[in-house]
Symmetry: C2
Subunit: 217 residues, 2 copies
Amino acid sequence: MTVTEAARRAQILAHTIDVVAELGYAGASLNRIAAHAGISKGLISYHFAGKADLLEALVHDVFARGGEYVMERHGHVFGPDGTAGAALRAYLEGNLAFIAEHPRDVGAVVEIARNHRGADGALVFGAAWEETLLDLLAQIFTAGQEAGEFRAFDPRVMAIAVRRVIDGFTFQVMADPDLDTRSFTTEVTALFDHATRHPGAERLETDTTTAQETEPS
Amino acid sequence: MTVTEAARRAQILAHTIDVVAELGYAGASLNRIAAHAGISKGLISYHFAGKADLLEALVHDVFARGGEYVMERHGHVFGPDGTAGAALRAYLEGNLAFIAEHPRDVGAVVEIARNHRGADGALVFGAAWEETLLDLLAQIFTAGQEAGEFRAFDPRVMAIAVRRVIDGFTFQVMADPDLDTRSFTTEVTALFDHATRHPGAERLETDTTTAQETEPS
DNA sequence: TATGGTTTTGACCATGCGGTCAAATTCTTG
DNA sequence: CAAGAATTTGACCGCATGGTCAAAACCATA
């Protein structure tokens, strides 16, 4: 991989992100990407094996950066020492912060993940991909329940809810760049804090709770 | 509108739902829809002004049926007499039940809403459409807060979370037709019950809306 | 059965798509 | 500078798309 090739690939990926974020998956043709980057269409084929290769490289690139971002910021909380509540909060804050900083990148990834299909017609980033994300969350929830920290609920359903709210945040911040991401993050962490903990249990920060209630089975 | 025309339009809409649900927005070409319905492509153009007209008619049709379904089942809870908690529960149960009964219809609608763009490149069912849905939920939340029934939270963020979880359920039930929809619904209503109420407040114990429901097995 | 409106077909069109490739250009290096 | 490798272009291909239209088929009714 020469330095020229690496730079060109990065440039093409960046412009692909822009075009997908602006025009959606269906609007992101090789012609439009090339025009947006100021290069010829054939050059894309020279650096990528095809459109599928380009889109999948883009998804893996952004996903790797996102995972690295979250782990660098909050990785220490995910060990066996931290509480499940702290891990959940770190997961939410890390994900939402990365989206707030790179809304177009994540927006393009979500757009591709939802639409890109292989030759067999199945979504390339489908059930298996999703399962990887859900499993990590479900582990946090299961740990929190076994530690008596969380109330009884289906970890998988809660994981789905968390993922859908995170995905939804992507479109919120893309549709309204002036969105107060800090406030949104606070609201979402509070939402899932209440949703996961025992009713009446101590809240994480500023909550003044009074009554103690026995947990309904 | 002759009886022939009405029947043909309904038939075309039904087959369009099938094709969109199976092959996604990008895979739903007029040729494929016509082949799936066993008719010629020109016939679609005879009954609909164009592809955009067809897709928008489909969205409006399913949306109307869904709204009617929810209102017939749970409309009585949305008056000024019912509690906000009951209204929220009814909203969730009604939406999830309709999706569970018509997953392909709703799946097609979500697919179209997320991808269909007008000549200007903007999503046809974009911000304004979404706002209509969010406002209804936000009203429930605001009412619940003013009545002292709900804790303090941003009604809009909570509305977004509810909508995203409902949308997510569509894909869950499409991906896995054997999904236990009743269990999923119970989990989701409990999730948002805990998320909205004051910590330590009494939970809803009995189902207020599904007493006369008949469960076919 | 003859008439006239309704419905349906299938061929056809312009357009844009992803992909290919020989030729031209630029870069590296001896 | 010269030669070969790496990079880039732009024309071209086959194909699928959404859309149009004259002709054919169908159907109700006088």
